[in-house]
Amino acid sequence: MIETEASTFPLVNKMKATEGTERESKVLEELMTYQEKVFLICLGFSRNPADAEDLAQEVYLKALRNIDSLTNLSLVKFWLYRVTRNTCLDFSRKRKLRRHSSLEPEHQQLDSQTPESQVMEQEQLRFLKEAIQQLPKKQREVFIMKEYGDLSYQEIGEILKINPGTVMSRLNRARQTIKNRIRRENNEKS
């Protein structure tokens, strides 16, 4: 649980000072209950768990900075997921720019001591990650929220402000695109 003493959390103090103490502590606690989901969504947008954690930290910092924009406290979950989605999209955009402007290696080098099956799996995962990153933005965000965040169609629709039907169709298209890529890759290999 996050401590809320005056000396350690100025942002939280601000929240406490402006509105009711108990209620705001509850909001903060509620925000923290979604940290795993936030982390997993960030994992979908990033290359590895370390990057995902950094991204999740950014999400929480951003959320605490912009806590004033949270008007309806019952929608705190959707608000936090929306912040997560926006932060991750910003991150993806910046990474894309960085990749274009420099020759930085996109993926970690595999350890030569790793067993062959694990190497194969890591290679597959790398390919899957690439396929996800190449998806159109609308399909990508729906796919990650569903596959990584385990969110329902209803929840995704609420976050993106679209119908659950649209969520389903986007998700279906995204899955189809990824499957096609995997199939193409397998054919090339064989």
């Binding site: 996050i2 910092l61 899957l128 499957k179 995997i182 199939r183």
Partner: protein, 197 residues
């Protein structure tokens, strides 16, 4: 068809399985407490480098008010330094009048400068004509050689008079008859009538 579907499903299972494994592995390395501790540290760091309270939480308000103040100042400056249509008109009239007066002065100066030499010219002209008349009369009339010097001396005597009269009338618009009357007054010779004709 069935074969294609089964391969599709297999691929779908493959990638969902891959994602599941990735998530499990990531969650193993994700420690909630460590995450919170790190977040707390970052908040503390941020609070140390943050600007004062007013600037921190009311940035948009400050920005909007600054823009408003600038707009108002700009509007005031516009009102002060840019003349109104009436002022512009008044300035234009002033300028036009100034030019008109200036050109009037210039014209007066020019006209004075032009009129003065004309007077002198007309004096010379009259004197010349008097001499010509004398010469003409001497050729056409029975004037003795003795009379010619006398008539000429009278013409020469009248010349300053002509100038004086011209000086009194600055316009210089004097009729020919007037000149002749001067001539007649001082001369009793019969030729005067013929010249008048």
């Amino acid at each position: 068809m069935k074969k294609a579907n089964s391969s599709n499903n297999k691929q779908s299972i493959e990638f969902t399985d891959l994602i599941r494994k990735e998530k499990e592995e990531a969650l193993r390395s994700f420690h909630k407490d460590a995450f919170r501790a790190r977040l707390r540290q970052r908040i503390e760091e941020e609070s140390k480098t943050q600007s004062p309270f007013v600037f921190r939480f009311h940035r948009p308000v400050i920005a909007v008010s600054a823009v408003l103040v600038l707009v108002v100042m700009g509007w005031i400056a516009f009102q002060v330094f840019v003349p109104t249509p009436e002022e512009r008109e008044a300035r234009m009239i002033e300028k036009t009048l100034f030019r008109a007066f200036e050109s009037q002065e210039l014209l007066t100066a020019r006209s004075v400068a032009q009129v003065e030499p004309k007077q002198e010219e007309s004096d010379i002209h009259e004197f010349e004509w008097s001499l010509k008349r004398v010469v003409y009369s001497a050729q056409k009339e029975d004037i003795t050689d003795n009379d010619i010097p006398r008539i000429l001396s009278q013409v020469l005597q009248n010349a300053p008079q002509v100038r004086e009269v011209e000086d009194e009338k600055p316009s210089g618009a004097r009729s020919k008859n007037e000149d002749l009357s001067l001539f007649q007054e001082s001369d009793s010779h019969p030729m005067r009538y013929r010249i008048q004709d």
